[in-house]
Symmetry: C3
Subunit: 138 residues, 3 copies
Amino acid sequence: MKTKRRILAGAVPEAPPGTYSNAIAVGRTIYVAGQHAGEPDGTIVGEHDVHAQATRALEKIQALLAAAGATMDDVVKLGVFLTDVTTRAQVGEARRAFFSGDFPCSTLVGISALAQPGLLVEIDAIAVRGASGTKAKT
Amino acid sequence: MKTKRRILAGAVPEAPPGTYSNAIAVGRTIYVAGQHAGEPDGTIVGEHDVHAQATRALEKIQALLAAAGATMDDVVKLGVFLTDVTTRAQVGEARRAFFSGDFPCSTLVGISALAQPGLLVEIDAIAVRGASGTKAKT
Amino acid sequence: MKTKRRILAGAVPEAPPGTYSNAIAVGRTIYVAGQHAGEPDGTIVGEHDVHAQATRALEKIQALLAAAGATMDDVVKLGVFLTDVTTRAQVGEARRAFFSGDFPCSTLVGISALAQPGLLVEIDAIAVRGASGTKAKT
């Protein structure tokens, strides 16, 4: 029996077939692919602005989780990949707007490049639906 | 009661004792260590050829999952680490040969170095046995 | 019902509220945030000494797991992020002191920077309480 479920959120563009899924749920656990501020037409939301890019990445994660019946407070682990690690305070500031209560675990590292030039931050997530005791708005 | 199970695949060389395991299963979830094209004798399958190296890494993941009773379509999350992120299309091409249906989530970043000089790509995975509804060939 | 549980260990300083948690458990699975040798006052345990820094990071992971009722042998996956990948043998040496039996899976990559200058290694972990069949000392 298939228990793997691809999560689609209207507001989050899916990558072309044969590449990757934005989010996959198995049971209550939801894996969210690394999200960033790149749009399908090649533009970037918030060029040169890591706060805006982190916000956009987190908005995508939030929309994907909502589509899976989960909330940001259900996130247990974030991976944060920065092209310039000295901007991490701005990313932290963006992150604060999305979580409440016990924040998720996080691994934050400075990497040499992201998938597309101009991207400053990529964020992935693991969430467990319902784990925070809050309910997703539907 | 011990529920952690080390997964051994004849075709995939294990690292020396006291270092790491290639794959560990707990229940239906299988964690696969970062795989690459390095061989125990220090040679690399596909030197200067990221497509060949990604293929080799994915073959190892496939063999480890098969040994755990799972298939590539049971993979829910891939981590892809590239020394040169501009080669990602070639890695995507290699990846296409291994998956069908809903592709796994993926986080792809450019990093400054892998464990051994000459390695161009390392890929790790989380899979859930049976999640795709397909059965591993035995 | 809330099933997400923040794990606090007296010996491991928590980050300020509104940033991240050191460890979150849901059911038997424990996610541990990237740990390093930085202390809250900005000092680093083992400056210029990657073995000492890895040891400090692993001590923190061990303390967090103990607080969650788990042991290092319950770890299924490690992520190891090094600013200089050529130091990996020293990190492997440090790691050997913390695990027994089947070592965890590991993904080890060289990254361009960690959260704080002077940090040489960051390590995160996923563990499953009781999976090794050993019991945490209480």
